[in-house]
């Protein structure tokens, strides 16, 4: 296999498996199962795409990983710990290791782009002086260097998406999950953002990117998890 500058590279992880699902099922309330019998693992430092048609359960699967939901059955193991049984007091520490790019961005309207991106560092107790340069540099990298004092409501969809990505990666998470992170940007910016994810992956982060964009998927030699009606119908590596 020839090496490509965009290809994800192996790193030296501190743990073997970042995410492991064993026969996981999930339902909302008393409704039908939206995810059934999911078994897969994401080795530490790996890069995976998650694809599937709308309604296949991609967002629900991501919500399970960042523990916005609990599975109705099965086991979920994150960084070597059983996340299904994790007490809620342990959630903040887990979430600091996971960067999430939401499909709807979830930026805070009353904070500037700079403050939105700095949020994870601020919550972790860091002083502004210690992160100001890093935040500015990252925002410049994603093309928002001139908009860091702007408020999200004044940004275009693509700019909001880049700000959301910057917020997810600013704390250099061990695991980055992204829900359609290039859905609102032009092809050039999509490639640029993908390079950012690849670069983070080279630094050791495990990446799971949900996308409809097959061009993006084909541009990387990364394994693909394919969901259909809540079940995995294709995966590069089964647990």
């Amino acid at each position: 296999m020839s090496s490509h500058p965009n290809d994800p590279a192996p790193s030296a992880p501190a743990f073997e498996t970042a995410v492991r699902f064993d026969s996981v099922g999930m339902r909302y309330g008393r409704g039908p199962e939206v995810l059934s019998d999911l078994s897969f693992e994401l080795p530490s430092g790996s890069f995976h795409f998650l694809t599937g048609p709308s309604g296949a359960g991609k967002s629900s699967l991501l919500r399970l990983i960042y523990r916005a939901e609990r599975p109705s059955r099965g086991l979920i193991n994150l960084f070597g710990r059983d996340a299904s049984l994790l007490p809620r007091e342990a959630l903040p520490a887990l979430r600091r290791r996971i960067g999430v790019v939401f499909q709807d961005f979830r930026l805070l309207d009353h904070l500037t782009v700079f403050d939105n991106v700095a949020l994870p560092l601020r919550v972790a107790g860091q002083a502004r002086s210690s992160y100001a340069e890093d935040v500015a540099e990252l925002l410049t990298w994603v093309g928002l260097g001139e908009r860091m004092d702007a408020f999200p409501s004044t940004l275009s969809g693509g700019e909001q998406q880049r700000a959301a990505i910057a917020r997810a990666v600013i704390s250099k998470p061990d695991l980055l999950i992204a829900d359609e992170p290039t859905g609102n940007v032009d092809p050039e910016m999509a490639r640029r953002l993908l390079r950012l994810f690849v670069e983070l992956n080279r630094l050791g982060a495990t990446i799971l990117m949900a996308t409809h964009d097959l061009t993006l998927v084909n541009s990387l030699k990364a394994p693909v998890l394919e969901l259909s009606e809540g079940r995995l119908v294709g995966q590069a590596r089964v647990a």
Binding site: D115, V123, D149
Partner: protein, 300 residues
């Protein structure tokens, strides 16, 4: 720092600034604190007045000198007063003459000249040391050999009734303060929950980037502490002004029955700052409890 770094060096507040959303709560809380303070002023005044009623009763004895035939009742009253004044525990004695006695019975007998031979009892008002009064029956024993009859009233039969009335006034006022405090706490707790619902995006974003519950509840707690403090100060200062106006009107009216009188001691000065602090603490606690339980319910 990069030349592109954020112009603002200030750390922006994580909760959005109040854009008028909290104004109704501010008004309601200030009104409740105003009413609670007025009740507290009323309770303080009632407490003070009730203390005065019972103190007056226990510190005074009334001796009636019943006029005998062919005797100068006014002279008998003066002689009795002089004798009583020498008893231990007596601090002052006032003998009331016939004119004073007639004035006291005028509500029943009218103000017209009374017949000279009407046997109007003379009164001797005896001020005693409330902590060390004369022994029971000492006045009767002292005047037992005198040629006139006496009746001693130590007000015992009134004291229990007055004490009960005073306690009723005190506890009613305290109950009112307590009810208004509970109402204020309930309103603030409800508002805190509504505030969290309106700003759930902030709580959710903070939660998802790894904020501890106490970090998020701390933000709302601080916001509501200062809101409670501002409402408390506004309500309590307004109540203090109203109470002063009421006390002034009561004093100026000379006790007209339709103008309530309010006697406030120096201790009443502590009520406004105390009320503001209590309002702030209740608001902070209510917000903390509401936000904490909502976070637990939404993120199990």
């Amino acid at each position: 720092m990069s030349k592109n770094s954020s112009k603002s060096q200030r750390v922006a507040p994580l909760l959005p600034p109040d854009s008028g959303r909290d104004r109704p709560l501010f008004a309601v809380a200030a009104i409740l604190v105003f009413l609670a303070c007025l009740s507290a002023f009323g309770a303080a005044g009632a407490w003070r007045a009730a203390d005065g009623w019972t103190d007056q009763l226990t510190a005074e004895i009334t001796v009636q000198i019943l006029p005998g035939e062919d005797r100068d009742a006014d002279a008998d009253a003066v002689a009795a007063a002089e004798a009583i004044a020498r008893l231990p525990g007596v601090e002052g004695v006032t003998a009331l003459d016939r004119a004073e006695a007639e004035r006291l019975v005028s509500p029943w007998l009218g103000t017209a000249d009374l017949p000279e031979d009407l046997p109007v009892p003379r009164l001797v008002a005896v001020q005693v040391n409330a902590d060390n009064p004369p022994a029971s029956g000492a006045i009767e024993a002292l005047l037992a050999d005198e040629p006139y009859e006496i009746l001693v009233d130590d007000h015992q039969r009134w004291e229990d009734a007055v004490q009960r009335a005073a306690n009723a006034v005190r506890y009613f006022a305290l109950g009112l303060v307590l009810l208004l405090t509970i109402a204020a706490a309930a309103v603030v707790a409800f508002a805190a929950r509504a505030s969290l619902a309106a700003r759930w995006d902030v709580a959710e974003a903070l939660h998802l980037v790894g904020a501890q519950d106490r970090y998020i509840t701390g933000l709302f707690q601080e916001r509501f502490f200062f809101l409670g403090l501002k409402s408390g100060l506004t309500g309590s200062v307004a109540a203090a002004l109203a109470a002063l106006a009421l006390a002034h009107a009561g004093a100026a009216s000379g006790g007209l029955f339709f103008v309530p009188t309010l006697e406030l001691g120096w201790s009443a000065l502590a009520i406004p700052p105390l009320a503001a602090l209590i309002a702030a603490l209740i608001a902070a606690l209510a917000a903390r409890t509401a936000v904490s339980s909502d976070l637990k319910a939404r993120w199990s």
